[in-house]
Symmetry: C3
Subunit: 151 residues, 3 copies
């Protein structure tokens, strides 16, 4: 049991997996923040105390809220594959330096992706950071399939 946590590569995966998961989770409070400051809600019960007229105004979508939600969705679509492939990759026993390179590259590219998305930085900043994260995951998947292929 404790053997997994004695492995340096697995500990590195644990660290970076937790960090990118926490980063992804922080998109939820960020969405709430934009919902409150922009006044854009999607549930009747969230604006229950307001007058009927105010309710109508508040139950709407707002570009800033939709932007954060798209960023959150993009995290789900990219971080989860990294977590799964990264876990399997860590179990194939790669070099610690190679593993750290993959994990750091992914964590940095996704952090920059969030900044580029929420801050609406000019393209191709968002596109490139997204691509870098994809490539890190593909590279790990390549090693996993090379090591463990059993169809």
């Amino acid at each position: 049991m404790a053997t997994l946590m004695d492995d340096e590569v697995f500990m590195a995966f644990t660290t970076y997996a937790t960090i990118v998961t926490l980063k992804m989770m922080l998109m939820a409070p960020l969405t709430s923040y934009y919902r409150l400051t922009r006044g854009a809600f999607s549930n009747q019960e969230d604006v229950a105390r307001k007058s009927a007229e105010e309710k109508k105004k508040l139950l709407r979508t707002h570009p800033d809220v939709e932007r954060v939600r798209r960023c959150h969705q993009n995290d789900l679509e990219n971080v989860i594959p990294f977590l799964v492939v990264g876990l399997l990759y860590a179990l194939t026993g790669p070099e610690l330096s190679a593993a750290l390179l993959h994990f750091r590259l992914f964590a940095c590219s996704r952090t920059f992706h969030t900044i580029a998305y929420v801050g609406a930085l000019p393209q191709p900043s968002r596109g490139l950071s997204w691509l870098l994260g994809m490539l890190a995951t593909f590279s790990m998947a390549y090693r996993v399939l090379g090591t463990a292929l059993t169809l």
Copy 2:
């Protein structure tokens, strides 16, 4: 191999992880149920047998369907981080009682969250149950990073 499943904490994680995953999967049939009873579809081929006039009416969004879909999306955003962080947490060798407390708290808070969301219960019932689930995951992430930090 079998050593993981001999570990009590890992067995507890396995149980609760499967339960919350099944709960999350059940949102899909629930969405289908609301789509059928409310008559709100999003794909042409789902209403292929209807007349042209009926098709127009059925290809629409309905507040009840959108509510269940938001609830499902919220599950994806919260249950998946729990599954990842919980797995790593179980591998750090915590006390069984502490682990069970985290897992039970999360499973209960998410079950109540679904009831509060789909049933449109007055706030802050949904908000609090969401917060409780987040805190359980954060608490596990705190221990994981404290045990395995390798940057």
Copy 3:
């Protein structure tokens, strides 16, 4: 550490988990392809070089893009439970033949689901392939709970 990768069932899980994850990740480039060919974007910065008039036209939703996005979302909702339940299932030490049956069934049904969804094949092709994937996951969850139930 290496013991997990010596296990035939775990290697089979590793292979199929990576394959379905890669399939899910490929929905993102497919979405980009439809966005570019259909001319339907959701971010201001993605159409920054166009004239003001063109921008208005390009910042819209298109049925084909929305279809691929729904397919991607359906993958997230179904592939992720498979990955989690499948990992735990592989650790319960099932027969290799039974495990391969589950993994192959799931991988085939999800591949066909994507073809049926993106190609808008007549129902119930999409519905049945979705159901088959669900049943494979449920069957594995049944064994996991039967082996490891610790409430």
